[in-house]
């Protein structure tokens, strides 16, 4: 049982993170907390991809010059590349979301979702 848990430990963490982020994104009333949940959600997916890329016995994928590289010696670079893109997307999302929050705060003086909805309905 313990071995079963350990073999995939990285994946358990990512599931836990995804659930935390998802719940925060949906249930929290404060928009800033929603945004934090959104970030956790995105980062959990990054953790998942990075876990795919790992390889037991592999080192970081910088090939030593002067000898033929064997694929088994280096970890898989592709997920890292994909996640660099995903990180950038995460940064960009956060930037735009913060800008929207600034506008909302300027307009309604609060970041609580129910208060904003009440103010909109009036």
């Amino acid at each position: 049982m313990i071995e079963y848990l350990l073999v995939k430990h990285s994946y358990w963490f990512y599931i836990a993170m995804i659930m935390v982020g998802f719940y925060g994104m949906m249930a929290k009333n404060n928009l800033m907390k929603k945004l934090i949940g959104m970030n956790i959600f995105q980062w959990s997916i990054i953790l998942y991809y990075i876990s795919i890329g790992s390889k037991k016995g592999g080192t970081l994928p910088v090939v030593i010059t002067g000898q033929a590289a064997r694929a088994a010696d280096y970890i898989n670079p592709l997920p890292h590349v994909l996640m660099l893109t995903a990180i950038v997307v995460g940064v960009a999302t956060t930037g735009i979301a913060l800008a929207l929050l600034v506008i909302l705060y300027r307009k309604y003086g609060t970041l609580e979702e129910d208060e904003i909805i009440k103010a909109i309905k009036q």
Binding site: F22, M25, Y49, I52, L82, T85, I96, L104
Partner: protein, 495 residues
């Protein structure tokens, strides 16, 4: 440059021009608009050439970016299906681009205009790129470009637009992340990101639990982005409050390109046998479509705001497309593809008309619009043409796609689909005749200038609207030819 590079140029041109427009806007704001129009014209030319070449050679065009072979590098594929979508997207983007000039000038402060046009071009880049790409991860990146520009432009809208944009962003991020997770699940199983390669690698793995979960995530992600029924709540708010200059671009195109991505996932990444029989995905989608069509039809009836009504109509139209896909036979899919194209034009037409009405009358409330036909006869005429097409009056294009959808549903033996399609047509008939009655026949209002009204609208608004209405008629008249020459090859052969 030789035509073999058009697949990359069609995406790279608007991308590079968006930087140039942004830089030029720092020095001279007047130059932005002509640059944008020139770019969109170029895109339209590229797309038409591409479709013509695909039709001529009868097989897909492949383009390897960076000259790396597909599973390792990124590949662009143009076949009959996305060639058709590319032409429609590029044409509507061009017409809406022309249309946006005078509307945007009234909606944004002057110093924002270069930024607006930059985001407009980036939006077009994202949509065209999503359509043309043959790589699952590349699609995610382009989806995000299109989404980001949409969030920003919607956030600039009226009233509570910033809040609507934030909610859209939350939903959109869940959707994009679910899609990314789905791609990750496919990647861990196969080690590939290329759609064609995935299609070859996946069949032995059908039945794997990872694949099921991955498929579910892909479906959820795409459904959110296309505004399918249970996950649509972001759609009415954000598209209603978006600036009129761009809601005509966003509302028809983004959702339809989402529908196209759904088709790609169901029938290109996965084999039809998987989507239809191994997982009854199409059955689930079909019932969601039925529920969506009925729900959105009723909701649309309850709206007093003309634009919000159209937004619910979009949700209903997405239901139509999904019903066509769910029928999973040649008729149904032909109907779905044809309806995707038709609906782009119908919705673009309706949204541009409503944008002009809003700009002229200062309101979109149905009750305040009576007699508007006397001030805006052509705009209302265009509106009526599009409305009749949505209802499904024969010579217009909406009729033919609905005809194929109904045929497909009958052939699939799903009478609930047929009933939903017919009831929805009835609902939209009620909906639009209510509008037409309100505008044309509900009493006389003496045009005493109590409201500030422009009696003549600029040609840059009028011409695109009339073009769109003409497109609706032409698509109707030539729909048989379109089906025989293009869509017949776009439908997966296995069905």
């Amino acid at each position: 440059m030789s035509p073999e590079h058009y697949p990359s140029l069609i995406v790279v041109t608007p991308l590079m021009m968006s930087f140039i427009v942004f830089a030029a806007g720092l020095f001279n704001r007047r130059i932005c608009y002509p640059l944008v129009i020139a770019t969109l014209c170029a895109c339209f030319y590229f797309s038409v050439t591409l479709l013509a070449r695909v039709m001529q050679q009868g097989s897909p065009i492949h383009y390897y970016l960076g000259a790396w072979d597909p599973p390792w590098g990124i590949e662009y594929v143009v076949d009959h299906l996305n060639g058709l979508i590319l032409v429609s997207v590029a044409l509507i983007a061009l017409l809406v681009g022309i249309y946006s000039r005078s509307i945007a000038a009234g909606e944004f402060r002057e110093e924002k205009l270069p930024q607006f046009y930059t985001l407009f071009l980036l939006q077009v880049t994202g949509l065209l790129g999503m359509t043309i790409t043959g790589d699952a991860f590349n699609l995610y990146v382009l989806l995000e470009i299109a989404s980001f520009s949409a969030y920003a432009i919607i956030g600039m809208g009226e009233g509570a637009a910033a809040f609507a944009a934030f909610r859209y962003m939350i939903f959109g991020t869940i959707g994009a992340c679910a899609y990314l997770l789905g791609v990750g699940y496919l990647y861990i199983l196969t080690g590939s990101l290329n759609m064609a390669d995935l299609r070859d690698l996946l069949p032995p793995l059908y039945g794997s639990r990872v694949l099921m979960a991955g498929f579910a995530f892909l479906m959820v992600g795409v459904a959110i982005k296309m505004g399918l029924f249970p996950v649509h709540p972001w759609l009415p708010d954000s598209y209603t409050l978006a600036p009129s200059s761009v809601s005509a671009l966003l509302a028809p195109l983004f959702t339809k390109v989402g529908a196209y991505v759904l088709l790609r996932v169901l029938f290109t990444i996965f084999d039809p046998t998987f989507s239809v029989t191994v997982i009854p995905a199409t059955a689930v989608l079909g019932w969601l479509g039925v529920a969506g069509v009925l729900f959105a039809g009723v909701m649309a009836l309850a709206q007093a705001d003309l634009k919000r009504m159209l937004c619910y109509l979009i949700v209903a139209e997405m239901g139509f497309i999904v019903i066509g896909i769910a029928s999973a036979n040649r008729f149904g899919l032909t109907g779905a593809v044809l309806h995707t194209v038709n609906d782009m034009f119908m919705m673009a037409c309706l949204f541009t008309a409503v944008g002009t009405i809003n700009a002229c009358a200062g309101t979109r409330n149905l009750r305040d619009l009576r007699g508007i036909n006397r001030r805006l006869p052509v705009t209302m005429g265009v509106f009526v043409v599009a409305a009749l097409s949505v209802i499904g009056i024969p010579p217009l294009c909406g009729f033919f796609s609905k005809w194929y959808l109904v045929l497909g549903a009958i052939k699939a033996g799903q009478w609930a689909y047929v009933a939903a399609l017919l009831i929805s047509s009835l609902l939209s008939a009620v909906l639009f005749f209510r509008v037409i009655e309100q505008v044309y026949f509900a009493g006389h209002e003496t045009g005493d200038g109590s409201k500030t009204v422009i009696d003549r609208i600029p040609l840059s608004q009028l011409a695109p609207m009339v073009c769109l209405a003409l497109c609706i008629m032409l698509l109707g008249v030539f729909s048989g030819k379109l089906i025989n020459t293009v869509i017949a090859f776009a439908v997966p052969a296995a069905l």
